[in-house]
């Protein structure tokens, strides 16, 4: 399985001819580092392989992000897609980017096309949306039947989730704010980031767990 994912040979001409779609994509991580890859999808949108998987050093500006993401583009690439945590406007301008504040206010997709040319396409997507899309494209690897809906949940700095289901054969990704679902009515529960008490994010997210560990080690 690992070998399957990590084979990172340079794309050969015959592979490009066989592939229906090749995209350069970049994931903006919480550490400030960017991971990029050439993702090849087959004719029905299933994941085939990811080549040239590279992670950058920490990046601090939108121009650095675009330079890294669009470097060494192989022939056949149709577009550049970004996966960025936060809120974007029209899959282009970053409004809120908690992992990369330097992107806020920038039309990342427009700036990308200004650099590489308008024969390509570019879009910016929320990281949970891309995760849902990725799991859908990798159903076989994940062991999820073709038409089964699923919930993808991130338990990290916060708790986030997206519902993914198929409607008339098309993937539909639904938003949610499950991290702010009330799961406890105790007045002694820790506060969530929005200061409410009893939210699952205030109890089961990474920072909440860290706080519990610190408290236990201090008092017990």
């Amino acid at each position: 399985m690992i070998f399957y994912f990590l084979k990172s040979l340079t794309l050969q001409e015959e592979e490009i001819a066989m592939a229906e779609t090749i995209f350069r994509t970049a994931d903006v991580g919480g550490s400030g580092k960017i991971t990029r890859a050439d993702v090849v999808l087959n004719s029905v949108g299933r994941f085939w392989k990811a080549d040239n998987l590279i992670t950058s050093k920490p990046i601090n500006s939108v121009s650095e992000l675009i330079d890294f993401t669009t470097a060494d583009m192989v022939p056949g690439i149709l577009g550049v897609g970004y996966s960025i945590a936060g809120v974007n406007d029209k899959h282009n301008k970053m409004i809120v980017a908690p992992n990369a504040h330097y992107l806020e206010g920038h039309k990342v997709a427009t700036l990308t096309l200004a650099k590489i040319g308008h024969r390509y396409k570019s879009s910016v997507r929320n990281d949970m949306e891309t995760s849902a899309g990725g799991v859908h494209a990798m159903r076989a690897e994940a062991g999820i039947p073709t038409n089964a809906p699923f919930l993808i949940i991130t338990i990290g700095t916060g708790i986030g989730a997206k519902y993914a289901l198929l409607v008339d054969g098309k993937l539909v990704i639904l938003d949610s704010e499950v991290g702010h679902m009330v799961v406890s009515s105790s007045p002694f529960d820790p506060r969530c980031g929005d200061l409410a008490i009893g939210h699952v994010e205030g109890i089961a997210s990474g920072p909440a767990i860290d706080r519990m560990v610190a408290t236990y080690l201090l008092f017990y």
């Binding site: 994912f5 990590l6 229906e20 779609t21 995209f23 994509t25 970049a26 994931d27 991580g29 991971t35 990029r36 890859a37 993702v39 949108g45 994941f47 990811a50 149709l78 897609g81 970004y82 996966s83 899959h91 396409k121 570019s122 879009s123 997507r125 949306e129 891309t130 995760s131 899309g133 990725g134 799991v135 859908h136 494209a137 990798m138 999820i144 089964a148 809906p149 699923f150 919930l151 993808i152 949940i153 991130t154 338990i155 990290g156 708790i159 519902y163 993937l171 499950v178 679902m181 799961v183 406890s184 699952v200 109890i203 997210s205 990474g206 767990i209 519990m212 560990v213 236990y216 080690l217």
Partner: protein, 115 residues
């Protein structure tokens, strides 16, 4: 806590070693996640819960999934919904956030009308 240790990782080690305080924290977290899943499962008939995130992955690696299953079984209107065949915890496939990279490609392909 040993110097240089991340709290979450230290918690995981202590939980695996059976230390009481760590088991208590795992129970608290499992209880919160079980309540969350109970609410979701009562609203929608999802079987597949795909998890990711550093904190979540570490806890699932250490077996919190079965703790959640045990707790959510007691909450669900139909306990059979918590059976292994009806509630599956799945780790996000692939290393290096591959799911996000593949998803960015998939969604762009869909935007272009290629799928």
């Amino acid at each position: 806590m040993p110097e240089g240790k991340v709290p979450g990782a230290y918690l995981g080690e202590c939980y695996s070693a059976g230390e009481e305080w760590a088991v208590e924290i795992y129970n608290t977290v499992a209880d919160a996640l079980a309540r969350l899943l109970n609410n979701i499962r009562c609203a929608y008939t999802f079987k597949y819960f795909v998890y990711k995130g550093t904190a979540g992955t570490d806890m699932f690696d250490r077996g919190i999934g079965e703790l959640i299953r045990k707790k959510v079984r007691q909450m669900l209107v139909n306990p059979k919904w918590a059976d292994r065949s009806n509630l599956k915890f799945i780790e996000t496939p692939g290393p290096n956030n591959l799911d996000a990279l593949v998803g960015a490609a998939y969604l762009l392909a869909a935007d272009l009308g290629l799928l």
